[in-house]
Amino acid sequence: MKYLIIGNSASGIGAAEAIREVDEKSEIVMITDEMKTIYSRPLLSYLFDGTILKKDLYYRPDEFYEKKKVDIIYNKKVNKIFPEDSFVLVESGEKIFYNKLLIAAGAIPKIPNIPGIDKEGVFSFRNLNDLERILSKIKTAEKAFVLGGGNIGLQAACGLKSYGIDTTVVVSSSYLLSQLADETAGEIYKDLFEKNGISIKTNSNVTEISGDKRVEKVKFKDGTTEDCQILIIGKGVNPNIEFLKSTNIKCRQGIEVDEYMRTNINDIYAAGDITETVDIVTGKKTINAVWPCAYEQGRIAGFNMTGLMKKYQGSIRMNAAEFFGLPFISIGIVKIKEEDYEIISNLDKEKNIYKKLVTKNNIIIGLLFVKDIDKAGLYHNLIKKKIDISPVKSILLKDNFNTGVLISLIKKDKDLLTEDVLSDII
């Protein structure tokens, strides 16, 4: 048996680790078009703002490949897959054969169609290469703009600011973090960023980028222009499916898989940011492009590539982050679109504490917590299990809601008499 994994990030590593739990002997080959390191993308933001050093970027220790007996091929791009003959064609012309293939090729940044977008000084922020290019230009910059007020955009802004650069975040919506948060939380973070010296420009957009070779000015929707030496694009990602176009692997937005992470083609699996999975909350197929989902999907795919039949329970949109010492967690649906949703929330503006749960028919379908985040996992458990919360609704956001209440809610009282109460509610 020979396993081939395209990609060595969250989902690829998840798969390799799972395969080795079951199959100690067979050959595993991983291939990546990136350079020589096994790093975690989310850590790039911490490197950018100086929280960690480059040597701390690693996700698994150096000896990972050796210990797991994985052959790693760095710096080579897979150009094409030939499912009929079970091989992939690498840029340099060589063929790599496989018995089971995992496509864990992730996502690439969305680049908006703005005149001048290809000028020097305009960057995306997806990999180490991007960050190194940004850092190489940082000494010659005084004014920077970040396009997009999501997690990545805000992290990039913090990075720029840490170098003393005058930084403005430009967002098309009326508040920050509009994909993960509601207006209340978005406002809290807007105030926080402004207090920390980062400007926020809402309801705006960059419509033109000008300059000789390198960006010198950006023009906004309202017609005004400003000087700019660095522009970072943080407008989300697209699944990296371009190189699959010549195959019959079924894609909609991302690669379609069944509950065993199999594509429509025999022996080919997919996982991570490139993959559409069923969202536990909405029941619809979607791409939940976050680290925990990518790892778990890779893990399930890995097990199933060895012949096990493990079902993936589905993905869920989830983000945890912290800016300027203020953490937040956001899970599932946090903004209401229809009327039969109910909201349970409380806000302490002075202390920046905000808690909100969205429920539908007494099932929690979304969570948004700012600052006071330590119990988020309990509600996450209730969301995933679709537990009826009506017996505890009145205390759901109170201090006395705790793991004891959770146990009582999930287990019937008489079940409590067994010894392994806790492992049963996981």
């Binding site: 945890a320 988020a376 996992g377 004891g404 009582s408 996981i426």
Partner: protein, 144 residues
């Protein structure tokens, strides 16, 4: 793999919280109750006793077979010790992103007093038997 776990005899737990105190002291630098309470950062206990409808239950990390915190940790700070099965957080590597807190289904990961890293039960890395088990006056907890 010889994986030892902490088990609970539910009928015996009185909710006295001796385990909580012992855990806090064990995770202090002095390992003495009276100096531990004046330390900075204040030591954090990694077990909490909760009451359910009918019982008291001390809750700490279960060192899950399929540990969601391990799968979710985006820095690689969480690992599984292959010989003992313990799920360990490397506090040097942890960047305080709280992804693990978001996914632990029983809420047993805590933020340390500095607000910078996640901490949880390490089964008393330096001890043969975890101190919660040793401190329990009714032997509700046992380790095997």
């Amino acid at each position: 793999m010889s994986m030892k776990k902490i088990y609970l005899n539910l009928h015996k737990c009185l909710g006295c919280k001796s385990c909580e105190i012992a855990c806090g002291v064990e995770h202090s630098s002095s390992k003495e109750l009276f100096s531990a309470i004046n330390e900075f950062p204040l030591p954090i206990k990694r077990v909490s006793v909760f009451s359910t409808v009918s019982h008291c239950i001390p809750v700490r990390c279960l060192h899950c077979e399929d540990a969601l915190c391990l799968f979710a940790c985006k820095s690689g700070a969480i690992s599984k010790d292959e010989s003992t099965g313990r799920i360990i957080i490397d506090s040097e590597k942890c960047i305080g992103c709280w992804t693990c807190i978001m996914v632990c289904p029983i809420g047993t990961i805590y933020i340390d007093e500095t607000g910078k890293t996640a901490v949880k039960c390490d089964l008393c890395a330096e001890k043969e038997i975890p101190v919660c088990v040793l401190s329990c006056p009714t032997s509700a907890l046992f380790y095997k």
